[in-house]
Symmetry: C2
Subunit: 261 residues, 2 copies
């Protein structure tokens, strides 16, 4: 069966995350896409996704894939979806993929961006995509703390729901912290992330930036492999999945997507 | 009585415009500000505003003013409002003003910005502040058409509700059209604007950019002083009031506000 992959962007504010949920009918990205695709393809569709974003988390370069017996082309599907979906959720690209491609298991790395606005007053134009925290942040100590997080570690300290028996080892390949005017932007790249890992790391690094933790504390928290010491999970609104990487073959990353605002 | 002025920004998406409306309780910017201010000042408050924005129109540098017998300082009021209002509506600055100051009648010029995204796919991050119209726009003809609009004219053609006996003459001091990637930005500056004037001008100029009108048609429409020829009012979502100008004295413009995204 043909395999199709799509590059998605969404404003997560009004979604209860990616994953379809049991119980009351909540609006989810997966639920909305599945409903529209099934209607166009006239068959049930099962989606694989690179990053199962939580409620309120945004995506600029999310990747999903699915198999279909239909002969509807990716371009037709993209147009059909974009014409019926609200502008909070759009398909930026759609193409055929090798049958072995799986948006989740084929991915080699994910990149997330977290934005903290430190100005006294929120910005009404970008506020949906930022954590408004009007306090000074010292970037230097945050960067020193970040050093101890880089590389392959057991990140159990920074994971909410590891899942029984599952590994909590991840390879944090890059962590940059930069100030753009009154916004501090943290960018994370790893082979994969644990549940709420980026937000727990951001919450902890922000405490370092505010002088409540020392940079050295962060390495100790990591080594403790226990969540007890870090109740500081940053809010979902500041987080955006910006890019997913796949191995060789026709490139399928976020390069054609819009620049991050 | 002390006079206070405030610099405001709001995402107009979920407001039924600036002005409090009779009938069913609709959410308006004026209604929300009046309610919160009256509660803090313990007295009724009557607001003057520089630009009575329509439903769905945004503001980055809106200015309002009011008199109060209270001794609560502008800084205290700003903090109080920002702590209770949703982040869609913020006070960027607050200060005392001369007793003769009136946000509406003292204003000497208003500037609006209109953004049209011509890309095939909407941008989920900036889409609330843009008109998504995925068609090519020829900037050259639009700029030529704009020339015929500059200066003092009777703009009745581009006004929805002039009001009986009211003048429809306005002085359009500046109109620039620029392309930023896949977004075309039109900026308008005038002493004042008529009801839906900017959106009617944008709708007409976009028709020129798409080749449906010739640049020369626009001057003829203007001279006709009749709305019949221009049913093309651009949607509210692309429009933002960016700045209001006042005569000499301590500057009170939008310079301290956030840059337009």
């Amino acid at each position: 069966m043909p395999k199709i992959r799509m590059l998605l962007a969404y404003d997560g504010t009004s979604f209860r995350g990616w994953a379809t949920q049991r119980g009351p009918a909540l609006r989810t990205v997966q639920g909305e896409l599945t409903a529209h695709l099934s209607r166009v393809l006239l068959e049930p569709v099962k989606l694989a996704v690179a990053g199962r974003t939580d409620a309120g988390v945004h995506a600029l370069g999310q990747v999903m894939s699915f198999s279909t017996a239909s002969s509807v082309t990716p371009a037709q599907l993209q147009r059909a979806l974009n014409s019926v979906m609200s502008p909070e959720l759009v398909v930026h690209r759609a193409s055929y993929a090798p049958e072995t491609f799986d948006a989740r298991f084929s991915a080699t790395a994910r990149e997330y961006r977290y934005a903290v606005r430190t100005a006294q007053v929120a910005d009404v134009f970008t506020g949906r995509f930022e954590w408004h925290r009007p306090k000074a942040l010292a970037i230097g100590p945050m960067r020193r703390a970040a050093q101890s997080l880089l590389g392959e570690h057991d990140f159990a300290t920074f994971c909410r729901h590891p899942g029984t028996g599952k590994s909590t080892v991840r390879d944090l390949q890059r962590l940059t912290i930069a100030r753009h005017g009154e916004v501090v932007v943290l960018r994370f790249k790893a082979n994969a992330f644990l549940h709420q890992m980026v937000r727990a790391l951001v919450g902890t690094l922000v405490m370092v930036g505010e002088g409540k933790f020392q940079p050295e504390d962060v390495g100790r928290m990591l080594a403790a492999r226990s969540r007890i010491g870090t109740p500081n999970v940053a809010p979902a609104c500041g987080l955006t999945l910006v890019r997913v990487e796949y191995p060789a073959g026709p490139s399928f990353d976020a390069r054609s997507a819009q620049p991050v605002p």
